[in-house]
């Protein structure tokens, strides 16, 4: 089963850019364990919502709203995609995430739809993918 593990927190973008090298190192070790377990499918951190936007799709023309978005509880700071045997296994791994003891963090666990459930024609993975560009300085 695949799960999306979303890091939400009390502060927009705090879990990524503000963190020091010690934290990145602890996270990398945690991520290495996930790789060894054959569980880590993807991981990403998001820039704060101040740089983001929302587009409202309704009956008329789409409307664009620029960030930041004030409701911290609505915002994702980053996410993983994990391959796990069960939701319970995902929960156990989440409890071990090496977030620093100060601050309140909430992590949401949601099961990802399989292609069969999504409908083969909806799933972008059915159409192949572009290759991510290499980042150059």
């Amino acid at each position: 089963m695949r799960f999306m593990i979303m890091v939400k927190s009390s502060g927009d973008g705090q879990n990524c850019a503000a963190q020091d090298e010690q934290f990145l190192d602890r996270m990398r070790k945690f991520n290495d364990e996930l790789v060894k377990a054959g569980a880590l499918l993807a991981l990403e951190g998001l820039h704060p919502s101040a740089k983001g936007a929302r587009v409202r799709l309704s009956a008329g023309k789409p409307t664009v709203f620029d960030g930041p978005f004030p409701e911290a509880k609505e915002l994702i700071g980053g996410y993983w995609l994990w391959q796990m045997k069960s939701k319970e296994e995902a929960i156990e791994w989440v409890k071990r995430c090496p977030f620093p003891p100060q601050g309140e963090i909430e992590i949401e666990i949601r099961e990802v739809l399989d292609v069969e459930e999504f409908g083969a024609r909806m799933a972008p993975s059915m159409y192949g993918r572009a290759q991510p560009a290499l980042v150059d300085d």
Binding site: M4, M6, E21, L24, R28, D32, V35, L40, L41, A42, L43, E44, G45, L46, H47, S49, K51, G52, A53, R54, V55, L57, S58, A59, V64, E71, E74, I76, Y79, L81, K87, I91, K95, C97, P101, E104, I105, E106, I107, E108, I109, R110, E111, V112, L113, V115, F118, G119, R121, M122, P124, S125, Y127, G128, R129, A130, P132, A133, V135, D137
Partner: protein, 144 residues
């Protein structure tokens, strides 16, 4: 630049209702255009929050709360990962997205961090790249 394109949840998505035929057709065409344009990196739909959970960290304690979660505004229904030249290009593509729902829906656009943006430490940047390569392999192995 990479952007996470987040489809925010609605009462429809939380009810787990399957999309209608017209929507499936429109979405398929849109996804094909994204692939043709070299933009589509990934896309996933999520089960409703009724079978999800949240883990709250407070100091050393961990508490688990089972879904469903009542505040639909806090939830997402799915996402894409896109590669585009700019935030503006991402917005223009989102404006063309067929509405996945019968009701109004909001799609959030958030830029994704690349490792060099987080640290100057070349060792960490290299290790992050290795990590991503390994996770992409695991992901492709499982891809249908």
């Amino acid at each position: 630049m990479r952007f996470m394109i987040i489809v925010r949840a609605t009462q429809e998505s939380e009810a787990g209702a399957p999309p209608n035929e017209r929507l499936l057709e429109d979405m398929m065409k849109f996804n094909e255009e994204l692939v043709q344009a070299g933009i589509m990196l990934a896309g996933e739909g999520l089960h409703p929050s009724s079978n999800g959970a949240r883990v709250r960290f407070s100091g050393k304690s961990r508490s688990v709360i089972d879904g469903p979660f009542a505040e639909t505004k806090e939830l997402i229904a799915g996402f894409w990962m896109w590669q585009v030249k700019s935030r503006e290009e991402a917005i223009e593509w989102v404006k063309r997205c067929p509405n996945p729902f019968e009701s109004e829906c909001e799609i959030e656009i958030r830029q994704v961090f690349e490792a060099p943006e987080l640290t100057d430490n070349a060792d960490i940047v290299r290790k992050e790249a290795e990590l991503r390569a390994k996770s992409a392999q695991l992901s492709d192995r499982g891809a249908r």
